[in-house]
Structures are given as structure tokens and as C-alpha cells.
């Protein structure tokens, strides 16, 4: 008994009070505002209570199973996912107004969230080692390529981008899975070839990077360009290529490769934007959404209005007007937080992401040298880059490119993938390797 107490994860357990209270108070607010009265029943908050039971259950299970890894990561993720839960429940009336398949979205999102947490639990329980990921790296690589090829050919087009794959009963977004596969493969590949790093490759008078760098570099570049051109999806291309460059830099420490790679990407995107109108439209919407206020700029303008009307303190949960922003639950979900929770809410969410990313990189620094370190750093890069790309787009710092806001945007593929990322990070934080 004392052994159990000694390894009990007190920090994590205490920190989980924050998302629990937030989920209960928040959900109650959402329902009471909608009803316009202060009489409540337990039915209103059963979702939050269930959520609370799930996350505390996970924490207790981690303690009982003797897991000794990071204790901050899970409470942060639980808070972010809790915000996602509140936002989707709050948006339910908007979905109902839209009618059709939308009416079930809030409920579906609850199932995804539960599935994500269960997946997290399963991974923490059944995957005790990460080495097998390294060993089967080419399997992952081919699986990823296959997935990509299938999407390019059979993918469904939504919002102008071909990024959905229908499996009959459910549609998935292969890009989400692809980015994890990319990090796993790169970490394994670069770890394996680290001994060859020092041998530059000579082609006549030119000193080229060693072949193990050059090959994936060219390949990734082609992949990114193909994504932009075929899928018409600048966001995913930016994300995949950014992850690649970051992991390459962390594995080699050569800034030059990053600069060259970035330049090549910019040139390709520039050319693509002139050949394909959609990217160009996005750039115009970025710099001046008012050039077509009723058309392509409409969504951005409505998001700006929502953000600005939030002010410092926000309108209050349930008191905003998210129904004016088209497709608010994915790309522009941050605008709902901005309007209803104000600057304090948005900065709070931003701080959560900062701590999440910082914690992820800290795990990488403390992890077992070699593959696991690179993996943890790469997974943290996914979270950091994806958050920056979507927030920068929504806030008009960069052109908007459709990627999801981790843990908050609606969408099953995204949520499940993010829980996979966190499970892998948690596993990487296990200090077990130091003992042996």
C-alpha cells in the first residue's frame, strides 16, 4: 500500500481539478444561457461529470500501473480537450440551426473525445516500449505513402481541398495520421544514419550534403509540392515540410539545410500560387479581406468582428454570435473563444499551448538518447507548428491555411491523432531508461 502511495501521481491528480471544474462550470453556463434560467438538473452536466471521471480515472490508472513519466502533460491536454468539449457543446445550437448532418456533430464530437481518451489509455497500457516504432520505420513510411496515394486518387473534396477519405461509415483525414508517421519515420531514419552525417558527398567541384540527407530532402520537397498541387492544401504542405525541416535541424544541427529547404519550398509555393488560383485568393484575403467582403473575405471578416467584440473580458460563454462565422467549428474555432472568453481567454489558451509545447521539448531533452529523443522533439514540433499555423492564419499574421487547432477544433481524426501524439510523448517521458 505504501508503495502505491509513494508512486501516486499527486501533481497530476491535483492539476486535473482545473479542467474538471472548468468543464462543469462551463457546461452548466452553456446550458443555462441557452435555457435563459437558473434551474439546472444533473442531466445538464452529466457530460462533464463523465469527462471528469474519465480523466481522473486515467490519472489513477497511471499511478496504479506504476507509470513514472511526466505529470503536467496530461492535465494540460485535459484542459485543452475540455475547452474543445465546451466549445462544441456551446456550438450545438449553431449546428442545429444549420440542420442536416450537422445536428449530430456535437454528439459525435463527444464520442470522438471519449474514443481519444480510451485510445490514450490503451496506448499507455499496452505500449511499454517505443523501440518497435523505430524498427518498422519502412513499414510506416510505405503505409504513409500508400495512404497519401489513396487520398490523392480517391479523396473527397471539401472546402476546395482534397483531404478526406471515406471508409463508408466514417470519413477520415489522412493528413492527420500522415504527420505522425512522418515524424516517426524521420526520427528513426535520421537516427539510423547519424554516423554517415560527417561524410559530405562530392560531385565534381560541388560539395553536396551526404546522400542520406539529400534523398529525403528532395523526396519531402516533392511530397509537399504534390500536396499543394494535387490536394490544393497549403496548410498540410506547410505543416509537413515544417516538421521535416525542424526534425532535420534537430538531428543534424545544420541550419544551412533548413535555409535551403525553406527557400526551395517558398519558390515552389510561389509558383504554385500563380498556377493555381486558390492560394492567391487566400493571400488576398489575408492582406485585405475587405476586397471581397461578401465572398472569399466573408469568413475572415466575421472572425475579426467576433474577436474584436470579445474585448478584454469577452461576452461570456454562450453570449456571443458564432453563427455569423461560416464553418466556425474547425478553422475559426479560436474566434469563438475570442468572442466569448475575451483576451483573457485567448491568452490563457495560448499559454496552455506554450506550456504543452515547452513540456514536450523538455521531455525530448530528458528522454533516452537516440530515436526517442528525436521522436519526442518531432511530436512537440507538430503541436507547436500546427497551433502557430492555424492561429497565425485566423489572426491574419500569415495566409489562412486549413489545419485544425489541436484538441479544440471539431473533427475525429484530428482529436484521435493528437491523443496518440500525447500518449507517445508521455511514454517518451518515462524515465525507465535511466535505471538500466
Amino acid at each position: 500500500m505504501s508503495a502505491v502511495l509513494r508512486r501516486f501521481r499527486f501533481t497530476e491528480f491535483q492539476l486535473l481539478v482545473v479542467p474538471s471544474l472548468m468543464a462543469i462550470v462551463g457546461l452548466l453556463t452553456v446550458f443555462l444561457v441557452r435555457a435563459g434560467q437558473v434551474n439546472w438538473t444533473w442531466r445538464d452536466i452529466w457530460v462533464s461529470l463523465a469527462y471528469m471521471v474519465l480523466i481522473f480515472g486515467i490519472s489513477v490508472w497511471l499511478s496504479v500501473s506504476g507509470f513514472r513519466g511526466d505529470q503536467v502533460l496530461f492535465p494540460i491536454v485535459a484542459t485543452l480537450a475540455g475547452i474543445g468539449l465546451l466549445v462544441t457543446q456551446r456550438l450545438q445550437e449553431v449546428f442545429v440551426q444549420r440542420g442536416g448532418a450537422w445536428t449530430q456533430l456535437a454528439q459525435r464530437q463527444l464520442i470522438y473525445l471519449a474514443a481519444g481518451i480510451v485510445l490514450f489509455w490503451a496506448m499507455m497500457t499496452f505500449i511499454r516500449q517505443l523501440d518497435w516504432l523505430r524498427r518498422y520505420k519502412y513499414t510506416w513510411a510505405f503505409a504513409g505513402l500508400g495512404l497519401m496515394a489513396v487520398t490523392l486518387v480517391f479523396g473527397q473534396v471539401q472546402n476546395g481541398a482534397r483531404q478526406w477519405l471515406s471508409l463508408g461509415f466514417v470519413t477520415i483525414q489522412p493528413d492527420e495520421i500522415l504527420k505522425v508517421i512522418l515524424v516517426v519515420f524521420l526520427a528513426a531514419y535520421l537516427d539510423e544514419y547519424k554516423d554517415l552525417m560527417a561524410t559530405p558527398y562530392r560531385l565534381g567541384p560541388l560539395r553536396l550534403p551526404p546522400i542520406p540527407y539529400l534523398l529525403p530532402m528532395v523526396f519531402m520537397w516533392l511530397l509537399a509540392v504534390a500536396t499543394v498541387v494535387r490536394q490544393n492544401n497549403l496548410g498540410t504542405a506547410l505543416l509537413l515540410f515544417g516538421i521535416f525541416l525542424a526534425v532535420l535541424y534537430m538531428a543534424t544541427g545544420r541550419l544551412l539545410y533548413v535555409v535551403v529547404g525553406l527557400a526551395a519550398f517558398v519558390v515552389a509555393v510561389y509558383l504554385a500560387s500563380h498556377l493555381f488560383g486558390r492560394v492567391e485568393v487566400r493571400v488576398v484575403d489575408w492582406l485585405n479581406p475587405w476586397s471581397d467582403p461578401g465572398g472569399t473575405g466573408f469568413q475572415q471578416i466575421q472572425s475579426d468582428f467576433a474577436m474584436a467584440s470579445g474585448g478584454l473580458l469577452g461576452a461570456g460563454l454562450g453570449h456571443g454570435y458564432p453563427q455569423y462565422i461560416p464553418v466556425v467549428e474547425t478553422d475559426y474555432v479560436f474566434a469563438v473563444i475570442g468572442e466569448e472568453l475575451g483576451l483573457l481567454g485567448t491568452i490563457g489558451v495560448l499559454l496552455l499551448y506554450s506550456v504543452l509545447v515547452g513540456r514536450g521539448f523538455l521531455i525530448a531533452l530528458r528522454a533516452e538518447p537516440g530515436f526517442v529523443r528525436l521522436l519526442a522533439a518531432g511530436l512537440s514540433t507538430i503541436l507547436a507548428l500546427q497551433t502557430l499555423i492555424i492561429l497565425g492564419g485566423v489572426l491574419r499574421l500569415i495566409p489562412l491555411t486549413g489545419v485544425t487547432l489541436p484538441f479544440i477544433s471539431a473533427g475525429g481524426s484530428s482529436l484521435l491523432t493528437n491523443f496518440v501524439i500525447v500518449a507517445l510523448l508521455m511514454r517518451a517521458s518515462d524515465p525507465g531508461w535511466r535505471r538500466t
Partner: protein
């Protein structure tokens, strides 16, 4: 040294961001993005980690990546501060027209406004001019009282044409945003209580207002009746008037019908040549004609150029620089000697041309300015600025000076301006600040603020005022304004017939009346109505008589 560079870069980043926030508000996104890029580089310099030598290469790279991403988050935070707080008002005020013609603007304000039950606009006795009827479902519509006064409230058309009149200038009170206890307001907002705006009680007497409207009838013109001692406007009629109830277009269950009706009505009234949307008492600009002699006489007496008893010659015409000014107003063609006072009563242009020439352009302009001509009149509604001349050098010629002295030339005045001139004469030289809104109160009747009479400025000395007052009274006793007399009251007046180049001149009358001392002043104009004595004077007399019958407050 390194610490110095870091803190320097951090301060520079703050300065760059501050500069950007202050300057790029209107100029758009390009310059701001450059500012943000510069700030990002500076922040990166100030937070760039100094990693001890010998640290493994992987750890160096990870630490640097972490700093890079965290600086990225900082930049996002700066942008949030800009979009949500610093520039939020600018962003919310933006609007544009989509390619299909619909207006794209922030929908929240209209919705919030529709939630606030708008305050009412009431006449002095509490009768509703523009009211608010709350439906069972909590929505409300503006309802209107007697059409003789509703146009003073202005139209309420947030979905189409915005707001005008008092609905516009007192919008903050009517929506409850201004006035009241800020703490209570904040609490109401937090608790999402139903908000109620404040009621405006006007100084308008509805009976007088109706009478003024009836007197004008189908003619174009304006009447202003003001309390001489307080500046309270008791009647302010404009003819023709429009019906603001037809222009109502607000969010609500009936908004579609309202919009259709308002559009149809707007296209009619905005194209009518007799401009029903023009609030003539304060926005109409007219040549004053002989009523301006009040200003000329005041200037002459106060500067000592002439006394009421100073004698002038009027031989039926006056030649100035080869141009002949004819005299049509002499009561007796054989009489040539008139005092300044008699010439005022008989409205002799030849005499006042001479007075004007004696005064000179500088002193005439000075006194016009002291009466408020050429500057804004403080009022609850925007007042058009009256002018003495349109071109700066106009008064430098003798003919122009002479014409201006008897109210022609390039003079253009509002009826309210001429009521202010009458007020200066009636009120010991002091002009009161005119006002329409007597009281602002909560819907429970609790007074929030009450308008206190205030002197606007002193146009002439009390002594000059008394002398000009006597001249105006004599003009009624023994002059063209004799029909203005009201038995048992002191009445002073001046008629005017302003030539406008059209066959029919504008008919003017300004005057005052009271038991012992002047209590009310009046200004009447009938556009192209003919002679002031025959057309405007009877209306002015009727209004004064009605005002004198009011119970003294």
C-alpha cells in the same frame, strides 16, 4: 554586454510594437506585418538562449527550436492584444458592400441594441412623441405620437439609414449606454438583465407645436418659439415634414416589412423637391431681409455711430458708386426726415444703407459675429452655420456693405439664428443657450439630469438692448409691424421681405412679447411667401399669443 544587447532588443521590440499599434490603425495590414516581423526578430534576439559550450548538438537545437516557437506564440499574443483590445473599435466600425449589394457589417451592435428597450422621447407635458411598445416576446417597436412633432425626434432606421435628429444625438442615453451608475451598468451587463434606455422630456409644448404646424400648413417654412429667459424651445416647426414612423427599420420579427416600407418611403421623400427631410428651423439657410436691421441698429447704437433719435434723410432712393438703391417702404412719399428708430419701424433700406456705410465692414462683421453669425450655435441638434458673406472680400465694396446692412447681399441665416438675435434684444443683450431636451430620466421617472438655463454669450450691452427693444416695440406701435400688437402685452417685432431673385420673396418675422418684460421670442419664415408683414407677421403674433397663454413654469 550580452545582457545589455538582450534588454536593448526587448525594449526595442516593445517600442516597435507600440509604434506599430499607434500608427498602423488606418493604413492596413502591410505595414503592420512588417512591424510584427521586426518585433519577432527583436524578441528572438532578446530571448535567444546562451547555451554553454560542450552542450550536445541535439540539445542546442531543441532549446533553440523551443525559443523560436515560444517567440511565435508571443507574436500571436501581441496580435491578439491588437485585434481584441487596441484596435477593436476600429475593426467593429468597418463595413463594406458585397458584390451582390448587401451591406457587410458587424451584426452584433444592432442585435444588442434591439435587446435594449429604447428610451422614449416625450413632450413637455409627458405626451409621447416617439415611444417604445414592448411585445410579449421581449422585442419592441418604436411608436409615434402626433406627426406635428415626430420629426423632431428623428427617424430610427438602424438597418437602413441609421438614426437622425435626437434619436442620433442622444442615442447613448436612449440606449442607456451613457448616464447612470457605471457599476450598476456593468453588473446589468454581467447578469444579462434587460437593459432600458433613458427617456428624454423635451421643452416642446405639443399644442404650440401643432398650432405652428397648422399655421404653416402646406407652405414651406419654419417657426421657432423660444423662452426668452431660459432658451427652452417651446415650438420648432418645419414644413413640409416627413413621417419617421415610415422609415423605421430595426431588427425584429417585422424587419422585412419595415425595410420594404422604409425603402419605398425614403425614395419618395429624398427625391421630393421641397425637401421634407430638411429640418428647416436649424438646417434651412435663408436671406434674412429687413429683420437683419436689428443687428445693424444694435451695432450702430453700441458703437456710438448713431442714437435711436439720430436723424437720417430718405429721399426715395440712394445712389452709391453709380448704383441706385430704391426705397419702397416709406409710409409717406413726401416725408424725407426719419430718426433711426422710425426708419427701423418703417424698415427704410436707404437709411440703413447709410448706417451701414457709417459703421464700415469691420464693425458690422464684428457685431454679426457677436450675435453668433459665422459660428456654431450650441444646441441639442446640429445647426447650420449662418453666414454674413460667402467671399472674404465681399464687404469691401460700398454697395455690398449697404446691401448687407439691410439684410441682402450674401447673408444666409437659419431661423434659430434670428430667434437668437431677438433673444439678445429681449434678454438684456444676453443670448441663452437654446435647448430642446429639458430632462433625461429613467423609465421609472427618476431624473438623471435636468437642463439648467445657461447664458451662451453677450451680444450687446444691456443698455443697447433696452434701446433696440424700445425700437422693436415702437415698430409694432408705429410701423409696418403694427398688426403684431397683442392688447395688454409688450410686443416688439420686425418684419422682413427677403429678395431671392424669384418672383416671390421670403416672408420673415422676428419678435418678442411679455407681460411687462419680454417672455417669449419668435422667428417665422415662409419660403417665397411674399411680404413679411402680410404672411409671416400674423403667424408670429399667433404663436406669441399662444405662448403667453401658457402657464408660467
Amino acid at each position: 554586454m550580452r545582457l545589455f544587447a538582450r534588454s536593448g532588443a526587448f525594449v526595442a521590440a516593445l517600442l516597435v510594437v507600440g509604434y506599430g499599434l499607434l500608427t498602423t490603425r488606418a493604413t492596413g495590414e502591410g505595414p503592420w506585418l512588417i512591424v510584427m516581423a521586426a518585433a519577432a526578430v527583436l524578441l528572438l534576439i532578446s530571448f535567444w538562449p546562451s547555451i554553454p559550450r560542450g552542450t550536445p548538438q541535439f540539445e542546442r537545437a531543441v532549446i533553440r527550436c523551443t525559443v523560436l516557437f515560444l517567440v511565435g506564440f508571443m507574436v500571436v499574443a501581441i496580435q491578439l492584444v491588437r485585434l481584441q483590445v487596441v484596435d477593436s473599435t476600429v475593426i467593429l466600425a468597418k463595413s463594406g458592400i458585397a458584390s451582390d449589394g448587401t451591406l457587410i457589417a458587424n451584426p452584433r451592435q444592432a442585435i444588442e441594441e434591439a435587446k435594449t428597450i429604447r428610451g422614449r422621447i416625450l413632450a413637455a407635458d409627458g405626451q409621447v412623441i416617439a415611444g417604445t411598445t414592448v411585445n410579449p416576446d421581449g422585442s419592441w417597436v418604436r411608436t409615434y405620437g402626433d406627426p406635428a412633432a415626430t420629426y423632431l425626434a428623428g427617424f430610427y432606421s438602424p438597418l437602413l439609414y441609421g438614426k437622425s435628429g435626437l434619436e442620433n444625438t442622444f442615442d447613448a442615453y436612449l440606449t442607456g449606454q451613457k448616464g447612470g451608475n457605471p457599476a450598476t451598468q456593468w453588473l446589468d451587463g454581467v447578469l444579462h438583465r434587460t437593459k432600458r434606455g433613458y427617456d428624454l422630456t423635451l421643452s416642446i409644448n405639443l399644442n404650440l407645436q401643432k398650432q405652428a404646424q397648422q399655421l404653416l400648413g402646406t407652405q414651406q417654412g419654419a417657426i421657432v418659439v423660444m423662452n426668452a429667459k431660459t432658451g427652452a424651445i417651446v415650438a420648432m416647426a418645419s414644413s413640409p415634414a416627413y413621417d419617421p414612423s415610415q422609415l423605421q427599420a430595426a431588427p425584429g420579427p417585422n424587419s422585412n416589412q419595415e425595410v420594404a416600407k422604409a425603402k419605398a418611403y425614403w425614395s419618395t421623400v429624398s427625391q421630393q423637391t421641397n425637401s421634407p427631410l430638411l429640418l428647416r428651423p436649424i438646417q434651412g439657410l435663408y436671406a434674412p431681409g429687413s429683420i437683419f436691421k436689428t443687428v445693424t441698429a444694435s451695432a450702430a447704437i453700441e458703437t456710438g455711430v448713431a442714437q435711436p433719435s439720430t436723424a437720417y434723410r430718405d429721399e426715395g432712393s440712394l445712389a452709391i458708386d453709380g448704383r441706385v438703391i430704391p426705397e419702397q417702404n416709406r409710409p409717406d412719399p413726401n416725408r424725407v426726415n426719419y430718426t433711426l428708430s422710425e426708419a427701423f419701424g418703417w424698415s427704410l433700406n436707404v437709411v440703413y444703407a447709410q448706417v451701414g456705410l457709417q459703421l464700415g465692414a469691420t464693425r458690422l462683421a464684428q457685431y454679426a459675429q457677436r450675435f453668433g453669425i459665422g459660428g456654431p450655435i450650441p444646441f441639442d441638434l446640429p445647426v447650420a452655420v449662418s453666414q454674413l458673406d460667402a467671399t472674404p472680400s465681399f464687404l469691401s465694396t460700398q454697395n455690398a456693405l449697404a446691401d448687407t446692412s439691410f439684410g441682402q447681399g450674401q447673408l444666409l441665416v437659419t431661423p434659430l439664428q434670428m430667434a437668437m438675435v431677438a433673444d439678445a434684444v429681449a434678454n438684456g443683450g444676453r443670448m441663452m443657450v437654446p435647448y430642446l431636451v429639458q430632462r433625461i430620466s429613467s423609465y421609472t421617472g427618476q431624473t438623471l439630469q435636468e437642463t439648467q438655463p445657461q447664458v451662451w454669450k453677450s451680444a450687446i450691452s444691456a443698455q443697447t438692448a433696452t434701446e433696440v427693444q424700445t425700437m422693436m416695440v415702437q415698430s409694432v406701435q408705429q410701423g409696418w409691424a403694427k398688426d403684431a400688437a397683442i392688447p395688454g402685452y409688450v410686443v416688439g417685432g420686425k418684419t422682413g421681405t427677403a429678395e431671392t431673385g424669384t418672383p416671390q420673396p421670403h416672408a420673415w418675422f422676428i419678435g418678442f412679447a411679455g407681460k411687462q418684460a419680454p417672455e417669449y421670442v419668435v422667428a417665422v419664415i415662409v419660403e417665397h411667401g411674399g411680404e413679411g408683414t402680410k404672411v409671416a407677421l400674423p403667424m408670429g403674433r399667433a404663436m406669441l399669443q399662444a405662448a403667453l397663454a401658457l402657464p408660467t413654469p
